[in-house]
C-alpha cells in the first residue's frame, strides 16, 4: 500500500511544532487522553463556531458576521462563500478573530481532528507570517501543501499527547 500523500517535515520544523505542542500540554497540566479541546481553546483564547457547507442560510449568516469582523471579507463579501464551496473546506481558521470554523455537515467523528488541525495553524509562528491577515499575499500550491502537512503533523502530536512517533 502506498503511503497517504503527505510530506515529511524538515527536522527543525517538526521540532518547533513539537515545542508548541509541549507548551500547550504543559499549559493544561500535562493531561491524559482524551485531550479536552475546550480546554485548549480556553488556554489559547480561541473561539470556535460551526457552519454548514450544505446549508446556505447558515453560511450566509456567518458571512454577514464575518463582514463585520474581518477586513478581507468586508473587501470581498462573497469570498468566504466562494472559497468554502470551491475548495470544499471542512474547517478553516480566521486569524484576525482567532476563530476556528468547523463544517458541521461533516461526520461528527471528524470534527475533533479538523478542529485540532486548525488549532495548530493558530500556534505555528511561521504560519502567521506566511499567510495571515493580508490579502496582498496568497500561498502558492507548494506553500499551501507545506502548511497543511505541518498542521496535520501537529494535530496528531497534540491529540496523541506526543506519544511515540
Amino acid at each position: 500500500m502506498r503511503p497517504i500523500k503527505n510530506r515529511f517535515l524538515e527536522e527543525r520544523t517538526a521540532r518547533d511544532i513539537d515545542a508548541q505542542v509541549t507548551k500547550i500540554l504543559r499549559g493544561l497540566g500535562n493531561p491524559t487522553c482524551p485531550i479536552e479541546l475546550a480546554a485548549v481553546r480556553e488556554l489559547l483564547k480561541l473561539d470556535r463556531q460551526y457552519y454548514s457547507s450544505t446549508d446556505d442560510s447558515l453560511l450566509r449568516e456567518m458571512v454577514s458576521k464575518a463582514m463585520i469582523a474581518g477586513k478581507q471579507i468586508i473587501a470581498r463579501p462573497t469570498l468566504l462563500l466562494d472559497v468554502v464551496r470551491k475548495f470544499d473546506l471542512k474547517a478553516f481558521w480566521v486569524p484576525d478573530r482567532r476563530r476556528i470554523m468547523i463544517d458541521k455537515s461533516q461526520p461528527e467523528p471528524k470534527w475533533r481532528w479538523n478542529e485540532t488541525h486548525e488549532i495548530i495553524h493558530s500556534v505555528v509562528p511561521w504560519h502567521d507570517g506566511a499567510m495571515m491577515g493580508d490579502t496582498e499575499y496568497t500561498l502558492t500550491p507548494g506553500g499551501h501543501e507545506q502548511v497543511e502537512a505541518e498542521a496535520n503533523y501537529g494535530a496528531g502530536r497534540l491529540l496523541f499527547l506526543q506519544g511515540p512517533l
Binding site: 502506498r2 524538515e10 471542512k90 496568497t138 500561498l139 502558492t140
Partner: protein, 156 residues
C-alpha cells in the same frame, strides 16, 4: 471517546484515503491560490538564491556559520544556494528573514511559497537576479571549454 481499533476497519479507511491529500482546509487568506501556478517562479527563485548567497557572503559567513546563526539545516541551506528548483521549508525562510532582518512575506514570495500581485516587486526581483550575476573575466580553461562547447553545438 472510544477508538475503533479493528484492523480490518483501519485498513479499509487507509485504502480509501490512500493517495489523497490530507487536509481539512487552509486559511481564509490563502484560499484563492492553487488555480494559477505562479508564472514568475523562476526569476523569483533565482533572485532568492542570489539574495541568500550575497547576504551570507556580505556577512563573511560560511554556509556552516550562516546555518548555525539562522538556526536552519545546513543541507537545506546548501540546496537553497545551489538548486533553483528547490522550494525550501516555510520555517527555514521565516528563520532566514529573521536573521537577515528582512520582511518575511517578501522573502517567501522570492522562495516560491507565497504569491504577490505587485508588478514593481516582480520587476525589482528580475533586475536583482540579473544584475547580481558575477561578470568577472573567464579563466583560460573556462574560455576554452566554452569555445569547445559552442563548436559542438554549431556542428550539430
Amino acid at each position: 471517546m472510544k477508538m475503533n481499533q479493528s484492523s480490518k476497519w483501519l485498513m479499509e479507511k487507509a485504502e480509501q484515503e490512500d493517495g489523497c491529500l490530507v487536509s481539512v482546509g487552509g486559511l481564509v487568506d490563502s484560499l484563492e491560490q492553487s488555480e494559477d501556478a505562479s508564472t514568475n517562479v523562476i526569476p523569483f527563485k533565482h533572485a532568492f538564491v542570489r539574495f541568500v548567497q550575497l547576504a551570507r557572503r556580505d556577512r563573511k559567513l560560511t554556509l556552516d556559520q550562516f546555518a548555525e546563526r539562522a538556526d536552519v539545516d545546513l543541507r537545506e541551506l546548501l540546496r537553497i544556494e545551489t538548486d533553483e528548483h528547490y522550494t525550501p521549508a516555510i520555517r527555514t525562510v521565516h528563520q532566514i528573514a529573521g536573521f537577515l532582518k528582512v520582511p518575511e512575506k517578501r522573502l517567501m514570495v522570492l522562495a516560491g511559497l507565497l504569491k504577490v500581485k505587485d508588478a514593481q516587486f516582480q520587476r525589482a526581483a528580475l533586475k536583482f537576479a540579473a544584475s547580481s550575476e558575477p561578470v568577472e573575466k573567464l579563466s583560460q580553461e573556462e574560455h576554452a571549454a566554452l569555445e569547445e562547447y559552442v563548436k559542438f553545438l554549431c556542428d550539430r
